[in-house]
Structures are given as structure tokens and as C-alpha cells.
């Protein structure tokens, strides 16, 4: 059997992509990219925290757009295992990133208040 006889078959388990899906994903991605860049180039909001929040929110939205329209993820692909492994990974990523930031930003805090009292110069 020559290899060329197989060419009409599709890869088993591969989702069927459509032109419409890719164009919707691309259009949304362009919008979700331009807005945060424009916001930052324009100087952002008065509150730095608000600008950071908006940039991250647009980033998360664009990641979701990529997963749905480019990676064709849905709850049924590969018997649900794709979504389960994704959920587990997102959990680990959250623990690693949020946990690291939480720990590192508290390194400057006093470790034991009692010791700090003892460190004060005695009158």
C-alpha cells in the first residue's frame, strides 16, 4: 500500500477547523491587542493599578480567544482530557505565580515583631 492512498483520511481526533472560526479569532485578537497597546502608549489611567488591571484583563481575554478559535478547544475534545489537563495546569500556574508574588512581596515585612522591639535602642 503506497503512502499516498492515505491522503484522504483525516487525523483521528483532530478537530475540524473552519475559515470563519479563524477569522473571528483573528479579528478579536487584533482588537484585544490594539486596545492595551493604545492604552499604554497614551499614558494609561491616572491610577497605575487600574491600567495594570485592564492590561491583564485584555491579555486573559485574548488567551481565551486563542484557545477557543485557534486551538479549537472544547469540553469534548479527546474525551474531555484536554480540558481536565488544562484546568489542572491553570491551577498549578495560579499557585506558582500568585504564590511567588505573594511571598516575594512580603519579604520586606518584619519577620518577628518581638525581635524588632528588642532591636530598638534602649533608653
Amino acid at each position: 500500500m503506497s503512502a499516498h492512498e492515505n491522503t484522504d483520511q483525516h487525523v483521528e481526533g483532530a478537530p475540524h477547523a473552519s475559515f470563519k472560526e479563524y477569522m473571528i479569532g483573528f479579528g478579536l485578537s487584533v482588537i484585544l491587542t490594539i486596545i492595551p497597546f493604545w492604552l499604554v502608549l497614551a499614558g494609561g489611567f491616572d491610577s497605575r493599578g487600574m491600567t495594570i488591571f485592564i492590561v491583564i484583563a485584555f491579555g486573559v481575554m485574548q488567551m481565551l480567544v486563542h484557545m477557543i478559535y485557534f486551538l479549537h478547544l472544547n469540553t469534548k475534545s479527546e474525551g474531555g482530557w484536554i480540558v481536565i489537563s488544562l484546568a489542572f495546569t491553570v491551577l498549578l500556574v495560579m499557585i506558582v505565580i500568585a504564590g511567588s508574588i505573594w511571598v516575594m512581596f512580603h519579604l520586606d515585612s518584619n519577620m518577628m515583631p518581638m525581635l524588632m522591639d528588642a532591636a530598638k535602642p534602649s533608653p
Binding site: A3, T7, F37, R48, L71, F88, T89, V96
Partner: protein
Amino acid sequence: MSTNTPSAEQIENAPKFLVDEEPHHAPGSLLGFWIYLMSDCLIFAILFATRAALAPNVAGSPLPQEVFDIPLILLSTFCLLLSSITYGFAVLQMQLNKLNGTILWLGVTGLLGACFIGIEIYEFSHLIHVGASPQSSASWSSFFALVGTHGIHVTFGLVWLIVLIIQAKKHGLTVPNKRRIFCLSMFWHFLDLIWIGVFSVVYLIGVV
């Protein structure tokens, strides 16, 4: 108890605890490749966490807002986003079994990926030139580790892309080649997804 031997009907309706055949599973490696991508995701999570923790520690080296060129990053972002959609067109052509169309769009994807890498190399050399080198401070070490790891991924994606174009030219769109092209599409879209995190967290928040 009426009888000890079950009737044929009872056997038919009895619950089965042994599967007659192996459950059918697609021989493709898409789930396995997805698990690999998730493990790669954890590598990037650690690098993102390191960057977030060390970003303020510039130790006298240039500040990100002094040296980042945001319009250039917008350009490289669009190179990568366009390469994602052109890879999508390659997959669409592959579904229609059009070999030349697939190779054409894979080639366009490769060119856009090469543009992205070119811009990144230019940016890195510029940063090192103005004193923001990997050894200058913890902040820039974490920057080069994160962005550099992403760039290495894209570079190896390009090597894989070139190999696949040669394979497709030589053997046509066989099922193994289709599977490989589909796996690389997942890899390529995944790298674009990671880049969203990079330009949001490293570049945009870096200059706010």
C-alpha cells in the same frame, strides 16, 4: 429459587464487567502533545513568576520604561499574530488535501516567524548595547530568561516548520504528515498564547 441456570435472555441483559474489546482510542498523538504543551506552560509559569518577583531589582541598570520600544513590540506582536492566522490557513488547506496551498501558507508562516525572531534579536542587541544586559541586574536576568526562552521556542518551531515543509514536499500529505502539521499548529498557537502573557506582563506593565 426456580432455576439455577440463567436463560439466554438473562445472559443478554446481565450487566457486563469485562469489556469484550479494547476501548477504541485514536492512534494520533494529539492528547500526548497537549500534555507536553501543558508541561511547557509550567516552565513559562515559573519564568513569569521569577520575572514578577525580580522586576523591581534593577540595581542601577536601565529601567524598563527607559529602554523598551513599545511600537517595535507592537510590530513583533503582529508578526506573531499574523503567523498564527496564516498557520490556520495552512491547516484549512491541509483539510482540503491541497499540498501546494499547505506548503505556501506554511512558508508564509515561517517568514513571519523569522521576522519575529529578527526583531527580537535586534531588540536584545539594542538592550545589551544600552547596558541592560543579562548580567547587569536580577531584573534583566529574569527578562532575558523569560523572553529568551520564548524566542528559543519560536526558533525551534521554525526548524520544525522547515523540516515539515521538506517532508510534505517529499511524501505528500500522508496521515503521519497531517498529524505532524496539526501538532505544530498547536505548538505555534500555544507560543502565540504565551507571547500574549509576555507583551502584557513584561512590556506593557513594565512601562506603565
